[in-house]
């Protein structure tokens, strides 16, 4: 019988091609990458983000923190772009280019960490709500609704004001204010996945609830979370800048894009570059993240799979 089966031409050949011996765990992500590569705008976004990440990593090589980034040099204040100061200097004579480069560190750290915290908290709550449904779902999602009823920036302002303005609290505030978003995204995709046949099949082999949630449901919810995460980093960077702009985020003299905007605000008429360059930096970074997020959404779209 088994000989008969292996000789069977219909199945012996049909699907041979993908098998080249070694198990290829990553093939699914490779496919996503191949699709993403074809999206020019997403690749532009990825390129810009890569530059931002490199800037954050090599910031100290590009400009020294103590002597260039925070040291005041009042004789050179508010100078326009030149060969010496590529993007000009601010009201304390500090090199704006150097400050923007060092500013990537705070922005990226807050952006990535706050999104990570929000995904873990919101994703967990959303998964439990979606999987169990009923009362548990109701309680969790109503609490999320209450959070959502407060504009997230106001919520973040309230949290930072209550806990004090420092980096940790800033991240926490931004994370908490976006927890409901992730809870909703994860819950929605758990709801669609929960009713699929392979979940029933997992129950039919005796898998426990925990195993079903962690091994079967969550891995299938990753796509929308990744997309939301990319967009979420953009939102978090914007919130950081916003909170710093109104003085509730990163405190001077530490370089932060939003705080730089705030500092240059009074000189807008005669020293446009002080606000323009940090503003452009924020804009381009956000745009790049959104381009990548949109590209990822298309590349991960299950309807385009196979």
């Amino acid at each position: 019988m088994s000989q008969e089966m292996t000789l069977d031409p219909a199945q012996g050949q049909l699907d041979k091609s993908p098998a080249k011996g070694a198990p290829k765990k990553r093939s699914q992500w490779l496919e996503v990458w191949h699709r993403l590569k074809r999206d020019k705008m997403a690749m532009l976004g990825l390129l810009i983000i890569t530059l931002v990440v490199l800037a954050a990593i090599f910031a100290d090589v590009i400009a020294d923190y103590e002597t260039v980034v925070i040291a005041q040099n009042l004789s050179d204040r508010l100078q326009g772009p030149s060969a010496q100061y590529w993007l000009g200097t601010d009201e304390f004579g500090r090199d704006i280019f150097a400050r923007i480069i060092h500013g990537t560190r705070v922005s990226l750290m807050v952006g990535v960490l706050s999104v990570a915290i929000a995904i873990v908290m919101g994703g967990g709550l959303g998964a439990v709500a979606g999987y169990y449904g009923g009362k548990i779902d109701n309680v969790i999602m109503r609490v999320m609704d209450i959070f959502l009823a407060v504009p997230s920036i106001l919520l973040a302002i309230a949290i930072v004001s209550a806990l004090g303005a420092n980096l940790m609290n800033l991240m926490l505030a931004i994370a908490i204010s976006s927890v409901p978003t992730y809870a909703r995204v994860v819950r929605a995709s758990v709801l669609t996945i929960r009713d699929q046949e392979f979940i029933e099949a997992a129950r039919a082999i005796g898998a426990s609830d925990l195993r079903i949630i962690f091994r079967h449901i969550i891995p299938n919810c990753l796509s929308p979370v990744i997309v939301q995460g990319a967009l979420g980093v953009a939102g978090a960077i914007l919130s950081t800048a916003g909170l710093s702009f109104i003085g509730l985020g990163i405190q001077p003299p530490e370089p932060e894009w939003g705080a730089m905007l705030a500092g240059g605000r009074q000189y807008l008429r005669h020293a446009w570059h002080v606000t323009t360059f940090p503003g452009l930096t924020i804009m381009i970074t956000i745009l790049a993240l959104n381009l990548l997020g949109d590209g990822l959404r298309d590349a991960l779209d299950p309807r385009l799979k196979h």
């Binding site: 019988m1 088994s2 008969e4 089966m5 292996t6 069977d8 219909a10 199945q11 049909l14 699907d15 993908p18 098998a19 011996g21 070694a22 198990p23 290829k24 765990k25 093939s27 699914q28 699929q196 046949e197 392979f198 029933e200 099949a201 997992a202 129950r203 039919a204 082999i205 005796g206 898998a207 426990s208 195993r211 091994r215 079967h216 891995p219 299938n220 990753l222 799979k305 196979h306």
Partner: protein
């Protein structure tokens, strides 16, 4: 009833009733169903869409979705124990281990982001208390057994055709060598040529491991080819059941006769189910008396009034029709039902 139950029975479903309650409306999906099955036997469960076949299967597995589903009454005695009374934890140890289920659509019954090897290994890991490595080793062997090279264990479901996916599903179902395999229309979603291969494979494996099987299908040809016994379901009830040859050759119930066409013929081609005039009754408002009476060509006035009891036919199978009841002693015949 219970004291009479044959101790050799692997599975004995007694008076099982299952409803779905949606928005205050009750769907009577399974109504007082009786089925028995011995070790190694294969039962074909036939019926139109909506007859309650899948719900019966889920009832055995303890997987009726609740809400909206609810088991109202009955017993599912498996190897001497009522599964419906079994604690949740213990029941998990039965599923996939002693009773396995194959779902209708192989395209959707595999997890798209796990390799097929991982998915076969998972059921072994859950039930056999072996190391991860040993479970993967066995997963490879199971793949070979269903005719897929073990090197493909690292591939994802979308890299396989429909027929091969169903082979993987079969490998998962049989990995822990269950006593009972429930296959819910396992070949409906496949091409005709592939259907035959998959069916052959199932037949071969189940006889090799002496696994009992409940095969849910629309296809009378499949039943004739694979099954020892047959049970015909209508509106949540078994209307005729017994040894397959007997039921095919001495068909008694008007519904079965309608399904088989005018001349049932086991040895020649028995094709698909014949369409029967009329519609399935609304399961939220089943007809009084015999549930088949609005469509039955032989119906009389009494059929709308009284419910037929199961009756043992002279050739030895069971049918539920008032026309038979007058001919045979109304004894308790549940135990010979199949």
């Amino acid at each position: 009833m219970t004291e009479q139950a044959n101790t050799q029975d692997l599975l004995s479903i007694e008076d099982l009733s299952i409803v779905y309650e949606v928005d205050g409306e009750t769907t009577y999906a399974v109504n007082g169903l009786n089925i028995t099955l011995k070790r190694g036997e294969t039962l074909g469960l036939i019926g139109e869409t909506g007859a309650g076949k899948t719900t019966t299967a889920l009832g055995i597995m303890g997987l009726v979705p609740n809400p909206p589903g609810r088991v109202v009454s009955g017993k599912v005695v498996f190897d001497g124990e009522d599964l419906l009374q079994m604690p949740k934890e213990k029941m998990r140890g039965v599923r996939g281990n002693r009773i396995s289920m194959i779902f209708q659509d192989p395209m959707t019954s595999l997890n798209p982001v796990m390799t097929v090897g991982e998915q076969i290994a998972e059921v072994i890991l859950i039930h056999e208390g072996v190391s991860k490595k040993a479970s993967f080793q066995k997963a490879g062997e199971m793949l070979e057994m269903v005719g897929i090279p073990a090197v493909r264990a690292g591939d994802f479901p979308h890299q396989f055709s429909g027929g091969m996916k169903q082979r993987v599903v079969i490998a998962i179902a049989l990995a822990c060598n269950p006593d009972l395999l429930i296959a819910d229309e396992p070949t409906t979603a496949l091409d005709v040529t592939i259907q035959a291969q998959v069916l052959d494979l199932m037949k071969d494996l189940k006889s090799r491991y002496n696994t009992a099987m409940i095969l849910i299908t629309h296809d009378l040809g499949v039943v004739a080819q694979v099954c020892d016994k047959v049970a015909i379901m209508y509106a949540g009830e078994v209307v005729e059941s017994g040894d397959i040859r007997d039921v095919y050759e001495n068909t008694k119930h008007p519904y079965t006769r309608g399904l088989f066409g005018s001349i049932p013929d086991l040895d020649h081609s028995v094709g698909r189910l014949n369409p029967i005039k009329g519609m399935m009754p609304d399961p939220t408002d089943p007809p009084s008396g015999c549930k088949f009476h609005p469509r039955c060509p032989d119906a009389t006035a009494t059929c709308a009034a009284s419910e037929p009891a199961p009756v043992l036919t002279e050739t030895g199978h069971v049918a539920r029709c008032l026309m038979l009841q007058s001919m045979v002693e109304p004894t308790d015949v549940n135990r010979v039902q199949g």
